[in-house]
Amino acid sequence: MTLTNDDDGEKPITTLKILIIGESGVGKSSLMLRFVDDTFDPEQAATIGVDFRVTSMLVDGNRVKLAIWDTAGQERFRTLTPSYYRGAQGVICVYDVTSRSSFEKLEHWFSEVDTYTTKGDAVKMVVANKIDMAGREVSREEGIKFAKRHRTLFIEASAKTKEGVQCAFEELIEKILQTPGLWENDRPAFRLGQNTARQDDGYCGC
């Protein structure tokens, strides 16, 4: 299996919607920016202006387009919209290993995912971020135990040192593609403002 971020102009076989959720300050935007742009800003302020980013991957020779959605700061008072969860095939739940409370709040995020995701078999993954930092409050074993209980993937990572980031996304995408029926679109709809507009069969055929 090969996974690369290079764009060879090939038409993607599917577009996947991936969400990143978790408490404020656990490094959700940093993980996304590390994965999409390979950058890291240690001074990254609370999320403003980060919406979603589109990138693509080659999986076994097939191009897969990824739309990775940030929370736009709406997690602060737990006011993510149900609309944010619609149609997501993959959900990355992040906690900060140096913050016990961010780990304890995972339960809340999992129940939100279960309530709002429209695809019952959406793939979930727990990412333990900031493993480069001193003052760890959540052990690897605890993280694994939680993930096992919820039957999800688990990985430890650091957006700062890159460790585990690429790997996390790859594992998630692989699992999604292996889940039958998850990534085929059964109810086609369209977005506005794209090249969907047709100008034929109107009255003004004159």
Binding site: S24, I48, A72, T81, P82, G87, R187, A189, G202, Y203
Partner: protein, 506 residues
């Protein structure tokens, strides 16, 4: 995590209905700091969509007795000597709520379980098990392909947060109201339909040609001005020889954007219809996947992306005034200073004004079939103009699984009509539609009326306080954009309303 609200923002918006969400997005997008609050734990107020469980919660909330607001000591401490305080309102917006599972819902049906074994279960049990698959609009509307809502969604790029489908069937009654027929959308459908005679097809095409020219230079056109304020039907019959079912296709369906039309408003409605045909498909109408409740959420997301702060399920207390201007809100036990306050009608203090009092009647039915069978599942609008008073603007919107509104095999039938002469005409309409032997089974029924009309400000209302309108009876969203833009331009005349974004590179 920091749970405290900011000390100061430019604008506080209370209520997350669609007009408030649009305003929040416009303010945030133009660089104003926004705090957006709601007492409800969900987005959208009476513009929301619910699944079966959250619908029951909504019904419960709307049946509760309204409690008197009291001003606590902790609030009094936040008010300075030269300031005054007024509580936010909690004005009822939903009336006459009644929900019932019908007798038919107790009927047993054979279903296959996971292992392929056949068991029997009642319709109600089957539906209740699939509660998450419902998305029930409190305010169903459609978007006109070339209307102001689509334009605003595209310009602001809010469009990227939602997906749409075409309303692929426009229906009306024909053959003396005995039959439901499909109305042709465009040139080729007019030629193909077997509902019209050859002569009538030519007459309709000729009339459409007239409308196309009329939309460009109506002043120079002959034969319509003397009818301008008269009924549209009279004009169609006298000038275009369009009568009977053929005339109904135009007055009831093609001109559905302007119910009970005069010749002038009728022609305008037909032109708006024609203008949107062929943009995203033959149908001029669009509907959001997962229902209309998506739209307020999409605008709220844009607001958040530009830094707007959201707090739902919050105690929203009141307004602090100084020299007859609003200077702060009190919410969640905190004082937040602000320059403007904008609310939905629910939160308006009575001292500042009230709604004009119109009502929109609604009926939401879960059915086991469509009102007009075809091979594929359809999204339909049925004009009810011929079986109810035309002033009611009554219509039915029906969609199901393909629009992500219901489990496979079930439909949501949404009836909407303005209340006239204190009478809910929808009840009679519903009987006509669903009481015959071969009509679809109605399994669940929810009826209510929602407050409509416009907000009438009192003389005491501060100049930096405003109330956005409640949902009206209109089929499309144009009025919502117009009133939101009007208010934005009034408060911030130097700022652009949701301008086109800079091109971004992916």
């Amino acid at each position: 995590m920091d749970d405290s609200l900011p000390d100061h923002v430019d604008v506080v918006i209370v209520g997350t209905g669609l007009p408030e969400a649009i305003l929040a997005a416009a303010c945030s997008r133009s660089g104003l700091s926004v705090l957006h609050l709601d007492r409800n734990p969900f987005y959208g107020e009476n513009w929301a969509s619910f699944n079966l469980n959250t619908l029951d919660e909504w019904i419960g909330e709307n049946k509760k007795e309204l409690s008197e607001t009291t001003v606590s000591e902790s609030i009094k401490e936040k008010i300075q000597a030269d300031e005054s305080y007024i509580s936010f309102g909690d004005n009822r917006q939903i009336f006459d709520l009644e929900k019932q599972w019908t007798e038919d819902s107790a009927t047993e049906k054979v279903v296959k379980n996971k292992d392929g074994e056949e068991t029997t279960s009642t319709y109600r049990a089957i539906i209740e098990k699939e509660w998450r698959r419902f998305s029930i609009d409190i305010t169903p509307k459609i978007l006109l392909s070339r209307g102001t809502m689509v334009q605003t969604l595209c310009d602001s790029e809010v469009s990227k947060y939602a997906e749409f489908k075409c309303v692929n069937r426009l229906l009306c009654f024909c053959d003396g109201d005995k039959k439901i027929c499909r109305v042709p959308y465009n040139r080729s459908e007019i030629f193909e339909t077997d509902q019209l005679s050859f002569v009538d097809k030519r007459r309709i095409m000729k009339f459409m040609q007239f409308c196309l020219e009329w939309s460009k230079n109506q002043d120079e056109m002959k034969d319509w001005k003397e009818f301008a304020d008269k009924s549209f039907s009279e004009f169609l019959a006298t000038v275009h020889n369009l009568e009977g079912s053929t005339q109904r296709f135009i007055t009831d369906a093609i001109a559905i954007l302007e119910p009970n039309p005069t010749t002038l408003t009728g022609l305008q409605a037909v032109c708006r219809f024609i203008d949107s045909v062929g943009v995203f498909g033959p149908s001029p109408f669009l509907y959001p996947l997962y229902g209309c409740g998506e739209l307020p959420q999409c605008f709220c997301r844009l607001c958040a992306v530009f830094g707007g702060l959201y707090a739902l399920h919050l105690q929203v207390d009141g307004i602090i005034l100084k020299e007859n201007k609003v200077v702060a809100v009190v919410a969640g036990g905190q004082r937040v200073n602000c320059d403007h306050i904008i609310t939905s009608p629910r939160y308006a203090p009575k001292k500042f004004g009230t709604l004009s009092g119109e009502l929109v009647d609604r009926a939401i039915l879960v059915t086991d079939d469509t009102i007009l069978k075809e091979e594929k599942e359809q999204i339909s609008i049925l004009s009810l103009a011929s079986i109810s008073p035309p002033q009611c603007a009554a219509r039915l919107f029906e969609a199901g699984y393909e629009s992500c509104l219901a489990p496979r095999g079930y439909y949501l039938s949404q009836l909407t009509g303005a209340r006239r002469d204190d009478k809910n005409y929808l009840k009679e309409v519903e009987e006509k539609l669903y009481d015959s032997e071969d009509s679809p089974r109605v399994l669940m029924r929810l009826r209510f009326a929602s407050a409509a009309g416009s907000f009438q400000y009192s003389e005491e209302s501060p100049t930096n306080f405003a109330v956005l309108p409640p949902p009206n009876v209109k089929l499309d969203y144009s009025d919502v954009i117009i009133s939101s833009r009007e208010l934005f331009t009034k408060f911030w005349p130097d700022r652009d309303f949701l301008p086109r974004g800079l091109p971004t590179v992916e």
